[in-house]
């Protein structure tokens, strides 16, 4: 999350909004957002509705929460999909920027 925050302006410059989804409740989200001063949209998903829709549930419960990133273009198409296989399996911001720069 620190990695995303650090370069947040560079996502905005590339026409993107950053949305963070997690299984915690709204109170936990608010506390964390406030403590860290996060600029992203935070979506508490305590019923795992979006997590299930995007296919994160199995690993979430069996192996702990795996990171995942999806870039969706202005037309609503998924243009980058990364499901992490380890806790530190996260694409670099540079990789995300390069995808965003290739979108119309």
């Amino acid at each position: 999350m620190a990695q995303l925050r650090q370069d947040y302006d560079r996502f905005v410059e590339r026409g993107a909004v950053v949305i963070v989804v997690g299984p915690e409740d709204a109170q936990a989200f608010r506390r964390y957002w406030q403590a860290k001063g996060l600029p992203f949209i935070g979506l508490p998903d305590p019923t795992h509705s979006v997590l299930k829709l995007y296919g994160q549930e199995v690993k979430l419960f069996k192996l702990g929460r795996m990171p995942a990133q999806v870039i969706i273009d202005r037309q609503g198409m998924a243009r980058f999909v990364h499901y992490g296989h380890a806790m530190d399996d996260i694409p670099s911001n540079a990789e995300l920027f390069s995808i965003l720069e290739g979108l119309s």
Partner: protein, 49 residues
Amino acid sequence: MGTQRAGSKVQLNQPAPDFALPDLNGQMVRLSDFRGRQHVVLVFNRGFT
């Protein structure tokens, strides 16, 4: 909420399943709100540690 089954994964270059959830301040956010306006970087968080 789309036609994908629970546990299915999002396919590259296919429409991303739409969703609607209240944000941390209770304001409803839909993926489709950003259609035609902004790209979305959707991040599934690993937990607040």
